[in-house]
Structures are given as structure tokens and as C-alpha cells.
């Protein structure tokens, strides 16, 4: 990470917000660096939109501070903050044409007419909507409105762009295309993005860092890789990707791996993040695409299972098995159906120990 990237642009310090029915946000802190793409990820009602509205000034926190470029903005109204928002509903002004929508932020800041026109032209080119300048919002498709909303928010050159589920209303194909475009735009302009989504795939594809939110708190803040490979809580492990979570007791630890056992057998996992001691209980998260089913036992593992079904899933075969205690597990890996195990066969579950992490350390003292 270079110097420019490490400079902090926005700091949220101990933000709490209560709308009278319990805390919507409780003690949230976040540092966003210049040029960074940070995603707030969570199910609806987790407080991600409220966080964004506190940054834009549309909501004031009960406690805590919002610092932008070292200046306290907590009590500044939204119109005085160098921050713009792309709203989930796009919120285009229905009585103004595309051009006037995009120019609005420049007009209220009293930019001179010629400069306004030039900037609007530039923005419309950026989002490839130049030929729609005179259209009214009602005459545009969802994807086109989306582009105008982005152009309008970018026009005043905000230091920080906030995007509240901007792709939420688009169909899957358009969504994928816009993901790529948005990311490219962000990198080309070097603007800092705070992005909200409930789509974990979108978050992983686009973000530099992801904050997984639950009940008004950050469950985990980290790079997509950290979130995916080393989930800190059971919630994160289950929310991101498909996985199996195995509980067990540590038998022994050697270097960065721990040998763990439970009633289903014995297995090995990465314990770099968790300082485990023998005898402690812990949870291990194994991603479905890393779970393997072998016809012969593998060293470090002894989890026999009975095959229920093998199903071709395009490119790989999903093997559905039951462990000794009945737990249902899915394994991926075999490429052809003819190599797959037959229902009723006994297979041995295993994985690369470095790719299966102990969740959030051990329950010390348990």
C-alpha cells in the first residue's frame, strides 16, 4: 500500500444512533483511506444505510464524530459537506431533464454557466449518456437512470462518493456489467467510494475492504480475501459464500495448524489467527468449493461420511454426504460424473488445512 492510499480521508468515531426502538448503530468506528473502495455489507436492517446517511449528513448521530480530512463534520448540514450520494431509488428530479439534473449540484454552487456546461458534457460522456442530455427521467430505463444518478453525484467533484445499493434495482446481467463499469470508474477517477450492498458476491468483486455489519455493529472489517478466508465470526462465515462449520475440541497444535476432533472424527485446520491450546473448543469454517470427498483416507483427517447423492453442477460435481452424526455436508471437486462416488459409498472428507480457518480464535476457558 503506497503513501497516498494510507492517508485517512474519513473517520467515523464511536458512532451510535437510536431511532427510539433500540440502537440502530452502536459504537461504530471506521477509517476510510483516500482512493479506497469500502463496502458495507449486511442484511437489510443491519444499519448500513443509517451509517451512510450519517456520513452524508442526512442523519445526525446521537454520539460520536464524523471527521473528513481532519475536520469535524458531525454537525454540518448535508449541503456543506464535500460528499455526494447515489440513492437507491436514484432520486432523479422528475421535472428536470438529464442535463439539468447533472448540472444541479454545480448550479447551486454558483459555478459559471460555461464551466457548468463543460462539466455536464464531461460527466455524460463518462457514463456514456451524451445523447440523452435532453431526455426527461421518466423517458429513461432503470440502467440509464442509474448512470445519470452517478453522473449527477460525481459532477461536483466530491471527495467521497456514497452509493446506497445502486445496483439493487437492476437485473442480474446489467448488474454484472455495471459492477465492472463502476469499479473502472472509481479507479480511473481515484475517488473514494463507500458502497452499500447486501450482495456478498458484489462486495467481494468490487471492494478494497469490506465491513460486514450485523445489528448495528461491524462483525468484521477486512479485505475480501480476509473476510472470505478467515471469517472472524460464525455470522460472517455463513453470510459470505457457502460453507460448512464444524465444532470440535483441539487435540494438539503444531506450528500454524491445529488438529481438532469431534464425534465425527478428526481434522486439521489453520490456527494462525487463533492462539489455540489443546483441550479448547473451537469452530472451523470450510468453504464448499474447498471441501473434498476422497475414496481413501487422507493424512491428518479421519472423517468418514456416507454419500447421499452426487450431482453435476457444470464444471464440477457436488457430492452430498452425511457425517456420522447426520450433519449434511456438500463437497465439490471431482470434475466428471464418472469419477464421482455412488450413493451409499463411504468417503473421507478432507481439505487443504491452510484454507480452512478456525473462526475468530478459541473460546478460552470453555
Amino acid at each position: 500500500m503506497d503513501e497516498a492510499m494510507s492517508e485517512v480521508l474519513l473517520s467515523l468515531k464511536h458512532i451510535s444512533k437510536n431511532f427510539g426502538e433500540g440502537d440502530v448503530l452502536s459504537d461504530v468506528s471506521l477509517d476510510v483511506r483516500k482512493g479506497e473502495f469500502v463496502t458495507l455489507l449486511g442484511a437489510s436492517g443491519c444499519g448500513k444505510t443509517t451509517t451512510l446517511r450519517i456520513v452524508s449528513g442526512l442523519e445526525t448521530p446521537d454520539t460520536g464524530e464524523v471527521i473528513l480530512n481532519g475536520k469535524d463534520m458531525t454537525d454540518l448540514p448535508p449541503e456543506s459537506r464535500p460528499v455526494n450520494t447515489v440513492f437507491q431509488s436514484y432520486a432523479l428530479f422528475p421535472h428536470m431533464n438529464v442535463e439539468k439534473n447533472v448540472a444541479y449540484g454545480l448550479k447551486v454552487r454558483k459555478m459559471d454557466k460555461a464551466a457548468q456546461a463543460a462539466r455536464v458534457k464531461e460527466m455524460l460522456e463518462l457514463v456514456q449518456m451524451s445523447e440523452y442530455a435532453k431526455r426527461m427521467p421518466a423517458q429513461l430505463s432503470g440502467g440509464q437512470r442509474q448512470r445519470i444518478a452517478i453522473a449527477r453525484a460525481l459532477a461536483p467533484q466530491p471527495q467521497l462518493l456514497l452509493l446506497d445499493e445502486p445496483l439493487g434495482a437492476l437485473d442480474l446481467q446489467l448488474r454484472r456489467q455495471m459492477q465492472v463499469e463502476l469499479k473502472r470508474l472509481q479507479q480511473a477517477l481515484g475517488i473514494t467510494f463507500i458502497y452499500i450492498t447486501h450482495d456478498q458476491e458484489e462486495a467481494i468483486n468490487m471492494s478494497d475492504r469490506i465491513a460486514v455489519m450485523k445489528d448495528g455493529k461491524f462483525e468484521q472489517l477486512g479485505t475480501p480475501e480476509e473476510i472470505y478466508d478467515r471469517p472472524k465470526t460464525r455470522y460472517v462465515a455463513q453470510f459470505i459464500g457457502r460453507s460448512t462449520i464444524l465444532e470440535g475440541r483441539v487435540r494438539c497444535v503444531s506450528g500454524s495448524t491445529a488438529v481438532i476432533e469431534n464425534e465425527n472424527g478428526l481434522f486439521t485446520a489453520d490456527s494462525t489467527e487463533a492462539s489455540l491450546r489443546a483441550g479448547e473448543t473451537c469452530e472451523v469454517c470450510v468453504r464448499t468449493e474447498r471441501m473434498r470427498a476422497s475414496k481413501t483416507p487422507v493424512e491428518g483427517f479421519n472423517i468418514p461420511a456416507t454419500v447421499r447423492e452426487a450431482r453435476y453442477a457444470g464444471g464440477s460435481v457436488l457430492t452430498y454426504v452425511n457425517l456420522k452424526d447426520g450433519t449434511e455436508v456438500v463437497a465439490e471437486g471431482v470434475e466428471r460424473m464418472c469419477d464421482a462416488a455412488q450413493p451409499g459409498d463411504t468417503v473421507y472428507m478432507h481439505w487443504n488445512p491452510a484454507q480452512a480457518a478456525v473462526i475468530g480464535g478459541a473460546s478460552h476457558g470453555a
Binding site: 452524508s56 449528513g57 442526512l58 448540514p77 448535508p78 449541503e79 460528499v83 455526494n84 450520494t85 440513492f87 437507491q88 431509488s89 432520486a91 432523479l92 428530479f93 422528475p94 421535472h95 444541479y104 449540484g105 447551486v108 454552487r109 426527461m136 427521467p137 421518466a138 449527477r152 453525484a153 461536483p156
Partner: protein, 269 residues
Amino acid sequence: MASRRRKKRKVFSPVYLTLVLIILYLPILMVVIYSFNSGRTIGAWQGFTTNWYTRLFNNALMADALKNSLILAGLSAGFAGVIGTLGAIGLAHGHIRGGNVIESLATLPMMIPELVLGMAYLAVFTAVGFKLGMTALVLTHTTFCVPYVFINVKSRLVGMDPAIEEAARDLGASPMRVLRDITLPLIMPAVVSGMMLAVAMSIDDVVISFFVTSAETTTLPLKVYTGLRSGGTPEINALSTLMLGAIFIVVGLSQLLRARSDKKLYASK
């Protein structure tokens, strides 16, 4: 069996509709038709004439009443437009405690019997020694016109995506600027249609006007009323026909305006 029942309903419903329309509109239609009757009595057709209209237009007293009615309707709809709009915006945005109560109170005058309202106004004006006449008329008409604007504007505001105004704030507009650039232009069709309804209400009011007017200021509906008491003439039929036409046009325009702008607003969502 099912198709027969459907057929029955098909026959029944136009018959039913026609009956309702006849009951509703036949008396009105009679007035309109007999305003062109050359005889003096309703019920005895004696040939077509526009004579009554000519006499109406040449009647100086009528012209005076018309002038009064128009001034009254214009001023009260104007004041009601301002008060109703500001009230609706304030209630929709202010997060005021007890907003529902205020809203009910604001629309209550529509439900209170006009007779009661008229008496109440008269009592108050007399008690404080307020001179009856045009000013009193404008004051009272404004109060009963406010709800029409208020309800119209309020429903428009409720149907609006709050993010539209937030987006303007977010882009750097002060609250006053948002009101001017975004809120007012978006609710204007509702304001205008509400004011048109207010004009329609004011221009045909008899009961309340009757209480607070003075001998010198008479309005068209009062003229019709007093005219009928002294027997009723085809001239009054002609006047009623004209008022009817005016109100149909105003209310129609108001509905059209609302429908068209609603379509525009919702299409953009």
C-alpha cells in the same frame, strides 16, 4: 348458468347506471333546458330563446354580483393556496408531534355543517365588532377553502420519494433552495388543482356567505337564492346554467391537471 348470470349483470348495470344518472342530473338538466324557454314557467315549453341570457348580461346588479363573486373566489382561493400549501409542507416535513391531530383539525371544516360555521363566524364578527361585507366574506371563504388545498398538496407530498429532496440537499442546496427548486415545482399541479376546487367551492356558496355578507355586497349564489324567493325567473335559470358550466370546467380542469402530473411523477419512479 354462469354465463346467464353474467349476461344478467351486463343488462342490469347500464340500466342501474342510467337511473342513477337521471336521478342525479335530471333536475339540473331541466334548469338548463328551461333557461332557453321563451315562456316563464318550468314545465311548459314555449319555444327557444337566448333572451334570458341577454337580459342577464344587461342587468347591472348581476354584473355587480358577478364581480363580487369573482373577487371573493379569487382572493379566498389565493389565500387558501398559500396557507394550505405551507401547512401541508410543514406537516409533511416537520416531524411535528401530534401531526395527525393537526391534520384532522385542518380538514374538519369540510365536515362541519355550513350552517354552524356561518353562525359561528357571524357570532365572532359581531362580538369583536368586525364590519360585515367583502373582508368578512374573504376571511370566511378562505377558512373553508384551506382544506381543499391542504388535502391535495398533502397527498402529493406523501406520494413523493423523500430521497428526491434529500438528493438536492446532498448536492449542496439549502432547505430554502430545495423548497424553491424541487418541492414547489413538484407540488405545483396539486396546489393549482386544490385552488381550482377552492374556487368552485367559493363561487357557489350560499349558506356561509348569507351570514357574513352586508346589504351592499351580494354574490351570484346569493342573487340566485334571493331571486328564487321572489318567485324565480328564467333569468335565474340562465344564471344557474352559466355557473354550472363554469364549475364543471374548473373541476374538470383540476382533475385533469392532477391526473396528468401524477402520471408524470409516478412514471419517474
